[in-house]
């Protein structure tokens, strides 16, 4: 113990004398942990929310009866089934806006607690603990998660009004309830959602459902047995989203570890004398390694805790955007307040420790091999550098091979990321090789001795700056790639939206009778130029949720429904019920091409249709199919239209909305005009990429920091390299400028190499990652303005990073320069 203590004391004394190195190590570890832990916090928060949503009504194996068109249906079916001996329990689900809470919608779930499937605990809490009488009695209860209550800024016991002016039962905290959920009695839900006598599904006990008798004939045409729960669905649908986040977090982690690796390596070099002294004073090799590992562990713990704290802050900062995009993209509710399990903290620390060990492994290995006797003769730098470049080159080539393999044979998102990782790492490793070649080619063209020194010395600086330049390359390429993809997506998406959202007004009737009434009423409205009803059926195709839409009036769609690819006469043949069209992502998932045939399961047996067209359906995680309405109605008899698209002069829209709402008590989630819909889609889009953009800028920041740290640490050794020039009569100011020039030269060369890499990355993102993750492919677009802006930013970062060490150099006293001669050995 005593020996370990004094060994550690001697080792640690180094950092006191070199606080900058200490800062580099800590900052690198801190950044790596921070971003990684932040992303993990977001992911685990979301997954916890999905799990809670899934547990809410009985967990993974949930069975229910739902309407074939996915809409609400009459509660009378519940009574009919109960009286036929089916142990069903009704559930009504909808979105509810609270008065004074802006646009935020809560998920309202109405349950009937007496009939909930046995063993189906509520949100993981046993049934008996429900305060049943209070829930069923008057005024009842609105169960809500504590964090949701806090987010709303309300107190337990409050009775807020819904947006339509209905009073809620007193809010009461139910601990494990999923976030964003209001759980009320079904009767209350029907009142709040203005859906008297309506239910959205009937829950069934799993044991019964697995051997359920056939549905009574009268119901079989309308209801269908569905297995699975929303939580599991959400987990599946949002998988790609979280994988993307993880990839960004991992990128930051790797960049951070680069910094750590460099700083620890430098520290080891500077501590060779110290280590040897310790050994000769009787510290065994094992004792020394133990002390070094402990030192690394202590640094990692320190930085890890700091990283976790700031990671928490990053996550808390990004959470609203992430939650909002998950909600609008997938309908997934994620608690807006971070609450993280202890395993997140422990896991984060562990990752930080492992990362530190990984980054320090090389140095530890070198320390273990450090000769005890006289200092090993420093190898001639050219030789060492050549060997280093060769190794980098080989590794880069190997990674290039991996990337090629992943590109040619990749068919999954994971392989897509392998492609990205191999491409980025390979390029980063190849960077010093490329720079060296460039400088070597340039050297013969230098005429003045100073120019020669300028280029030759730049070459010699490569190893020291390589890591920082690699970090810069990675960050820049990532920024170019992600930026191009986002901007390209924005352009494609808004163009597509403009074309697709051609109707001025969209209506969603509550039920069949209302649909009929609305249709009849609208027929008497002269300003309505066209009334386009659509029918809807929810399907599972190879286990993937999909929506089948039946349409009429193909002429309108031919104009406003852009197709990515189509057979000849596609719309005419669709009208003749000779085929179907489907979304790009569904076509990929089912591996269908134009002209191939798809079998749809219907109550009256399979329905086989030819694929006539494929269209983009950006932002929809579920599959989508289009058929002629008459065919749909033949296979699913008794369906009512689920929505109407209305064409009318834009000026008439507000009046019509008002008239509709007065006539039919439609709330504003059922009547949407084009402008509102576009605005909403735009917001979804912005939020989806807000988190990505933020993480991306953070990565660039990390790279700038890496550059700064590298330059600062180099600054000290630079002194001895510049001293001879000073002695030969080059002024200090001039030396400083020359040095700055060198740094900028290397940075600019790196920027230039980052451009093609970034575009390659962008291509990978739109043509590989997007396709695998979301199922849609985007055209690759280049935005020169954006690139210029990014370049300016990167140059500025480089300048700032180079400025301080050079300012120090410019200020260094002749004495300091002189001493660098004395210290030279």
């Amino acid at each position: 113990m005593r020996r370990l203590y004094w060994t550690l004391a001697a080792l640690l004394s180094h950092w006191r004398r070199h606080p900058l190195q200490l800062f580099s190590v800590l900052a690198g570890l801190w950044l790596a942990t921070s971003l990684w832990a932040g992303v993990q916090a977001l992911n685990s928060q979301a997954r916890d929310s999905y799990a809670r949503a899934s547990q809410l009504l009985g967990g993974a194996e949930r069975y229910s009866l739902v309407a074939r068109d996915g809409g609400w249906f009459a509660q009378q079916h519940f009574i009919e089934l109960r009286r036929a001996g089916w142990p069903v329990s009704p559930l009504l689900q909808g979105r509810l806006r609270l008065h004074g809470q802006g646009e935020q919608r809560l998920q309202l779930i109405g349950i009937e607690p007496l009939t909930l499937p046995a063993g189906g605990a509520l949100a993981g809490q046993p049934f008996e603990r429900l305060e049943l009488t209070a829930f069923l009695g008057r005024p009842g209860r609105s169960w809500i998660a504590a964090e949701t209550l806090a987010e709303l800024g309300l107190q337990a016991g409050a009775q807020p009004l819904s947006a339509s002016g209905q009073r809620l039962p007193p809010l009461t905290v139910w601990p494990q309830l999923a976030p964003g959920v209001l759980l009320v009695d079904i009767g209350v839900a029907q009142r709040l959602l203005d859906a008297p006598g309506q239910v959205s599904r009937l829950l069934l006990p799993a044991a019964f459902a697995r051997a359920a008798p056939p549905l009574p004939a009268a119901l079989a045409a309308q209801l269908v047995l569905q297995r699975g729960d929303e939580g599991a669905d959400l987990a599946q649908l949002t998988d790609s989203f979280h994988l993307n986040l993880s990839a960004l977090g991992l990128l930051a982690f790797v960049v951070g570890l680069f910094i750590v690796h460099a700083a620890i390596g430098l520290a080891l070099e500077q501590r060779r004398v110290l280590l040897r002294n310790l050994r000769t004073c009787g510290v065994s090799l094992r004792g020394l390694l133990v002390a070094l590992v402990m030192e690394l562990g202590a640094l990692a713990l320190l930085a890890g805790v700091a990283g976790l704290l700031s990671g928490y802050a990053v996550a808390a900062w990004l959470l609203p955007d992430v939650a909002a995009s998950l909600r609008s993209l997938y309908g997934a509710e994620v608690a807006g307040r971070l609450s993280l399990a202890p395993h997140w903290w422990l896991g984060g620390l562990l990752v930080c420790l492992l990362g530190a060990l990984l980054a320090g492994a090389g140095s530890l290995l070198r320390a273990a091999r450090l000769p005890l006797l006289a200092l090993a003769q420093p190898e001639a730098w050219q030789q060492a550098q050549a060997r280093w470049l060769r190794r980098q080159g080989w590794l880069a080539a190997l990674l290039g091979g991996v990337a090629l393999f992943a590109l040619l044979f990749g068919d999954s998102l994971a392989l897509g990321f392998v492609l990205l990782a191999a491409l980025l790492l390979g390029a980063a490793l190849a960077l010093p090789v490329g720079l060296n070649l460039l400088l070597e080619a340039w050297l013969p063209h230098c005429r003045t001795p100073l120019a020669q020194w300028f280029v030759a010395d730049s070459r010699q600086q490569l190893p020291g700056l390589a890591l920082a330049l690699m970090a810069l390359l990675l960050a820049l390429a990532a920024n170019i790639g992600v930026g191009s993809m986002t901007a390209g997506f924005r352009q494609t998406f808004s163009g597509w939206l403009d074309q697709r959202l051609a109707a001025e007004l969209y209506l969603m009737p509550v039920d069949a009778s209302q649909a009929a009434a609305i249709e009849a009423w609208l027929a008497g409205q002269p300003q309505v130029r066209a009334l386009l009803p659509s029918w809807r059926v929810e399907l599972q195709l190879q286990g993937w949720p999909a929506q089948l839409t039946g349409i009429r009036a193909q002429a309108h769609y031919r104009e406003h429904w852009p197709l990515l690819s189509a057979s000849a006469q596609a719309w005419q043949r669709l009208q003749r019920q000779q085929g179907l069209m489907l979304s790009e992502q569904l076509a990929r998932r089912l591996d269908l091409q134009l002209g191939e045939r798809l079998r749809l399961p219907t109550p009256s047996g399979a329905w086989e249709l030819e694929v006539l067209g494929i269209y983009a359906d950006y932002g929809n995680p579920r599959g989508h199919l289009l058929v002629e309405a008459a065919g749909l109605q033949r296979h699913w008899p008794g369906l009512a239209p689920r929505s109407f698209s209305l064409r009318l002069p834009a000026a008439e829209v507000p009046a019509l909305i008002q008239a509709l709402q007065e006539e039919f008590a439609l709330d504003d989630s059922r009547v949407i005009d084009q402008a509102a819909l576009k605005a909403w889609s735009g917001r979804v889009f912005e939020r989806t990429f807000a988190a990505t953009a933020a993480l991306n800028s953070l990565t660039l920041g990390v790279a700038a920091l890496a550059l700064l740290i590298s330059l600062l640490t180099l600054g000290q050794t630079r002194l001895s390299q510049l001293a001879p020039l000073w002695a030969l009569g080059v002024g200090r100011t001039r030396l400083a400028w020359l040095s700055l020039g060198q740094t900028l030269l290397l940075a600019v060369l790196t920027l230039l190499l980052a451009l093609p890499l970034g575009l390659l990355l962008a291509w990978c993102l739109v043509a590989v990652i997007n396709v695998q993750a979301f199922g849609w492919r985007l055209p690759l677009q280049v935005f020169p303005g954006q690139l210029l802006q990014l370049f300016g930013l990167a140059l500025l970062a480089t300048l700032l990073a180079a400025a301080w060490p050079l300012w120090q150099l410019g200020r260094s006293t002749p004495a300091a320069l002189l001493r660098s001669f004395a210290d030279e050995r």
Partner: protein, 363 residues
Amino acid sequence: MRGQHARISLALLAGLLLLAACDAETPAPAAGFAGLGGAAQGFARVEPGRLLGFPADHGAHPDYRIEWWYLTANLQDAQGRPWGVQWTLFRNALQPGSREADWRNQNLWMGHAALTGPDGHRHAETFARGGIGQAGVVAEPLQAWIDDWQLRSRSPANGGLGELELQARGEGFSYRLRLTSERPPVLQGAQGFSQKSGQGQASYYYSQPFFQAEGSLLVDGKRHAVKGQAWLDREWSSQPLAPDQQGWDWFSLHLQSGEKLMLFQVRQADGAHYRAGTWIHADGRAEPLSQADIQMQPVRFSRVAGRRLPTAWTLRIAAKDFAIDTTPLQEQAWMATRFPYWEGPIRFSGSHPGVGYLEMTGY
């Protein structure tokens, strides 16, 4: 006094609340079994002198807190083997006078069904909200149902009780019986006012003990044709038990002589049990029995569901020269429902042999 067990049911329902409610309120003397001794604020009180009228009183009484339709049958199959059937529908109101025909209705319903046979005892339980049609009772023609279980009048004869159809279903069993009767219902206690304690707790209580039953049972896929006798109890109240009453033992007996006998004791914390009963002559005349007339003595205890229960009894009514020893058909006739109790067919020998049902709660 099935009523008592009814309390159970209520208990079920009400008990849940109970658990929560009791915390807040004064730690009263346990408020009777399953809260049935609790206060009945706003609910109608049971007073002597109310005249019962049929068929109207076959239906529900939402002004009162609790109510039940309770049917037991002692049956025999073609091989002469004995079977027992229980069918119960409980109503428990959270608020008095709730009659809404939608989810706002404050009545909760619960059904219990049991089938006891030579090879054991099976039971089932189900719940429903009032007002939406999943469960309810219509007085004329009588129809009481919950899910696909029902008790339904098939003829207007005998005030609607002339011919009934009974059916229920649970895991591994179902039954369907036809019940017929010719005599009018028997009013228990004082013209249907049945006292349950010395402190005034009471219920309205009438029975139809004279049903002839026949029908079929389906047990694990095997059908059995059966015949026998059945007994219907109807009872409603708002606070049937005193707070210190812990549970009860209740008998409904079909004597071979054609007479019927109902006996119960409500066990009190102080050991002074409250006993009452009705001797029903073969012609339907009811003769109330008082505490002093009745002797009830457990003679054998059995281990049931981890509890010690008196499954065999000696019953005496000196004034009637009545002395019998009872034996259960299945000692383990345990109703493992939310609020569990023992209920099963028995036979007895002695001065007046016969068959009947025993219910024991609060053990």
